[in-house]
Point group: C2
Chain length 193, copies 2
């Protein structure tokens, strides 16, 4: 079983290195990915360091039906949002969202998964949990920081353009608070065996 | 260990029955609480069936600093929100949110926790997970449906009163979609051993 974990880890890390070479990995997630994958009991299977997103959708959370119009893994400027809105004129329903970091980590066994969960709790990621226990133990590390706010509903701009500045300021504050938790998680993971 | 679980279950259920008698338990959660607590391997330690909330806070998620002004565990009418806003005139920052159901369930052992997680996945609650494994296994059952939207920022109403109807319609749709997942979870939990 242990050997199988190592073989799977090699396979998954090969895919990750290819993605890194292509610049396809969210830069803010890289330090934590490096820390976790350097430890023999863990490997990461997916990651997002937190992001701001503009999407065309009637309701938030309709992942299969929504059209993602813009995505940023960093704080944004109001004019960037205004530009994205300009090219979204044909959509009747637009939502702006912030989502905190989310990582999936395969752990060798229950003990290593519990060590990672403890580290995650100390970093303030209190909704992290074990998703499944099988050949490997899958842990989801997640931060609940969120904004999901409509900008346009049924063709009507519910937040007027003159107020976007106020909204963007809070959007960036929530994103940066979430990313700060990721930094604390790096410090805690660095101390793991 | 098994006996200790039963003793703790009795103690926690006594508190739940007192809360039920006082009408302090969210009615939409009661069928699922009854189903889970009737099974010998589980007891619930906290629950919310999903809710709409108006809060005064600079940023969402600042639980210690926010002032909760109104909370509903059911769909709302625009005039209810307008009334709540009338009594919130002294606050500079107001956020309206919808959060899906969240339950914490103590499970006797890893096997019973994995059965519950499988049931939860089949019901579409894909972020559910094991929070901790110790004397008992704590599972969080959770739905990611969310809205977190500012109504007032820095003293300025970013969503004008004439647009509240559109917003309330979507707020109710997200709440009802989340509560529908709770119903599916009931069906799945009913089939557990």
């Amino acid at each position: 079983m242990s050997q199988r974990f190592d073989i799977e880890k090699s396979r998954v890390l090969y895919t990750l290195y290819c993605a890194l070479e292509q610049g396809a990995v969210d830069p803010d997630a890289i330090p934590l990915l490096a820390l976790l994958n350097a430890k023999c009991d863990y490997y990461t299977t997916s990651s997002c360091s937190g992001r701001v997103q503009l999407a065309a959708t009637s309701l938030p959370g309709e992942k299969r039906r929504m059209v993602v119009l813009a995505k940023w893994h960093r704080p944004i400027e109001t004019r960037e949002l205004e530009l994205a809105l300009l090219s979204a004129e044909r959509y009747n329903d637009l939502w702006l969202s912030v989502q905190g970091p989310i990582l999936h980590v395969a752990c060798r066994d229950q003990g290593s998964a519990l060590h990672l969960l403890s580290a995650s709790r100390r970093a303030g990621l209190k909704h992290s949990g074990i998703l499944w226990i099988g050949r490997r133990v899958m842990v989801e590390l997640t931060v609940s920081d969120r904004i999901e706010t409509p900008l346009r509903l049924a063709g009507i701009n519910v937040v007027s353009e003159e107020h976007l500045d106020f909204l963007v300021e809070r959007v960036n504050a929530v994103l940066l608070r979430a990313k700060a938790r990721l930094k604390r998680l790096e410090d805690e993971v660095a101390r793991l065996p």
